[in-house]
């Protein structure tokens, strides 16, 4: 295997700016890797045919003495929920097969401006509805640690791409855990920024009050570097926070010394343990807390009584918003058009198109959302769910009066087998119990590798959450913990992933 693909983005970037490696070489190494292993992993829905040309342009600009961004020339995988002008954008759905956007999502535009090389579009659950990537209309992605298992979802493609060394950086979207839970099951790093911290312009909408775009990487510093590229105010997204942000990369670099852990107050939510949590996940979490205490942190038990209502509230708010957002797939201006047998009116064409173009989970959630918003049920369901959202925010506020960060396992279990839960929506939904509260409250969250579960040898992730706008705190603390854990292991967790492609 080429050493180039094993480098972190920060390491590769250093070699690129030192002139030791060209952007063409870096891009070719990752395209070769995709060609070698993606038949097994299926992280990508589309691989760019212009990436090498873009890389050549970066090399020429660098050779001409132009001062480029520090990440210029580093390959980037883009979740298919983000629209791109040079590759199709389907959001994992048949209804958008072949769709070519006339504009780039803001995060993609910013990544290109920084000189990142978009090498492909990654697989996902259809319209980001799912926790396993099995609901992609284009077939599942396989977990690089065990190809018979799920890579998490909805952003399983982005997580698997970085875990399989097909790209050092990827973009994801997190509506209820779609960045953090895939990070957990693939031994990688994923960040859901503060709601409004990163533009959603050009992100194919699932649930607009919950969706947030963020970085998917193998190291905390890489995530911070990518966050700095994509973050900040965007006038084209009216929910974008009109404020400036400190550098996340500076925070991550500062955190690596571990100084931040001294006197850090770490909250542990008592509702996030016990039933449903795998023993090996709980064991690694307990060990991590011990390590934190050893480094001078104080562990504080937090009571968040309304977190147990979070999954229920989420599965009312998300379908309600999704049923409205997905009304745009009406066969008129873009996307699939199916004519019913014997013809019919535009309404019949719409119904036939949506029947043929949407998969079972999408239909399930549209129908559920339509129900939750129906007259007579609105107050009992959607109205109540919005009140639960207030109560969960209050739980977070009370917790952050006592602690600096909240820690939990990023998901209750390690990667399950492909097919195991696909026909049991309720058990699939409960998988998001640890990640959903952050989306409901808008607070930032990160997942970093926390070790392999002893019983199955599969990755587990540590989730950290911080108050709204305190994303830099997450990077500072996560970088400190990452350094401590790797010091204890004597290696990175991802270096323990099995070889792929028989090489």
């Amino acid at each position: 295997m080429s050493d180039l693909i094993r480098l972190s983005a920060a390491e590769l970037a250093a070699k690129l700016s030192a002139g030791e490696v060209s952007a063409v070489e870096a891009t070719q190494a990752h395209l070769d890797r995709i060609a070698a292993v993606d038949g097994d992993v299926h992280a990508f829905l589309h691989v760019s045919d212009s990436a090498l040309e873009t890389a050549r342009g970066i090399d020429e600009r660098r050779a001409a003495g132009e001062q480029l961004h520090e990440l210029a020339g580093v390959p980037l995988a883009v979740k298919d929920v983000l629209v791109t002008t040079d590759m199709p954008s389907t959001s994992g759905s048949k209804i958008l097969e072949g769709y070519m956007s006339p504009f780039d999502a803001t995060v993609v535009e910013r990544a290109r401006a920084a000189g990142l090389i978009a090498i492909g579009k990654t697989n996902m659950d259809e319209f980001a509805m799912g926790s396993s990537t099995e609901h992609s209309a284009y077939g599942p992605t396989h977990n690089p640690w065990d190809l018979s298992r799920i890579p998490g979802g909805s952003g399983g493609g982005s997580a698997a791409a970085v875990a399989a060394f097909e790209a050092p950086l990827a973009l994801g979207s997190d509506t209820g855990g779609s960045i953090r839970q895939p990070a957990h099951v693939t031994g990688t790093v994923g960040v859901k920024p503060t709601y409004g911290g990163v533009s959603r312009y050009g992100s194919i909408a699932l649930a607009s009050s919950l969706d947030q775009i963020g970085p998917v990487t193998r190291t905390v510093l890489d995530a911070a570097l990518l966050h700095d590229v994509i973050g900040g105010h965007d006038a084209r997204d009216s929910t974008s926070i009109p404020e400036s942000w400190v550098s996340m990369a500076a925070a991550a670099r500062e955190g690596q010394s571990g100084e931040v852990l001294k006197g850090l107050r770490v909250g542990v939510v008592k509702q996030f343990s016990g039933e449903g949590f795998q023993a090996g996940v709980e064991q690694r979490f307990a060990e991590t807390l011990t390590l934190l205490q050893g480094a001078g942190a104080e562990i504080v038990e937090i009571d968040a009584p309304h977190f147990e209502y979070a999954v229920a509230a989420y599965y009312l708010i998300l379908p309600a918003e999704a049923s409205s957002n997905l009304a745009r797939y009406d066969s008129v201006r873009f996307g699939l058009r199916v004519h019913p047998q014997g013809g019919g009116t535009v309404e019949d064409v719409m119904a036939a198109t949506r029947e043929a173009g949407f998969g079972p989970e999408v239909k399930r959630r549209i129908i559920l959302g339509t129900y939750a918003l129906s007259s007579g049920y609105y107050d009992a369901y959607y109205g109540s769910a919005q009140k639960v959202r207030t109560l969960i925010q209050r739980d977070f506020n009370a917790a952050f009066d006592q602690v600096d960060v909240i820690a939990s396992p990023s998901a209750p279990t390690t990667a399950f087998k492909i097919g195991e839960r696909v026909n049991d929506p309720l058990s699939m939904y409960l998988n998001d119990i640890t990640t959903i509260p952050a989306n409901l409250a808008g607070v930032p969250g990160i997942s970093i590798p926390m070790g392999l579960a002893p019983e199955d040898g599969l990755p587990t992730g540590l989730q950290l959450m911080a108050p709204v706008r305190a994303d830099d705190r997450l990077y500072r603390v996560a970088a400190a913990i990452e350094a401590r854990l790797e010091e204890g292991w004597g290696h990175t967790l991802i270096s323990q992933a099995p070889a792929l492609g028989g090489k």
Binding site: R354, K363, I367, T370, Y381
Partner: protein, 99 residues
Amino acid sequence: MSEITPELVTHLASLSRIDLSPDEIASLTTELGQIVDSIAKVSEVATADVPATSHPIPLTNALRADVVGETLTQEQVLQNAPEQQDGKFVVTAILGEEQ
């Protein structure tokens, strides 16, 4: 006991413009019944004194100057059209024979 019936699912499918098959209506009736039973618990804590939150970060209206911004060309607008003619989208008949 759930109030989700096949008739209700059929009605919701028609509101959602999805031409569900009879098999899908049957399986969705069962699945939605289970899901609704499990999510109905939100009403336990959603008392009258709790205000609703629709948006996680309070922001006032985001406004911009009323000037022409970036726009798409007609060609860009039509590039993904399922059917087009003379620079316009072709749409199936709006009204049926009975209308």
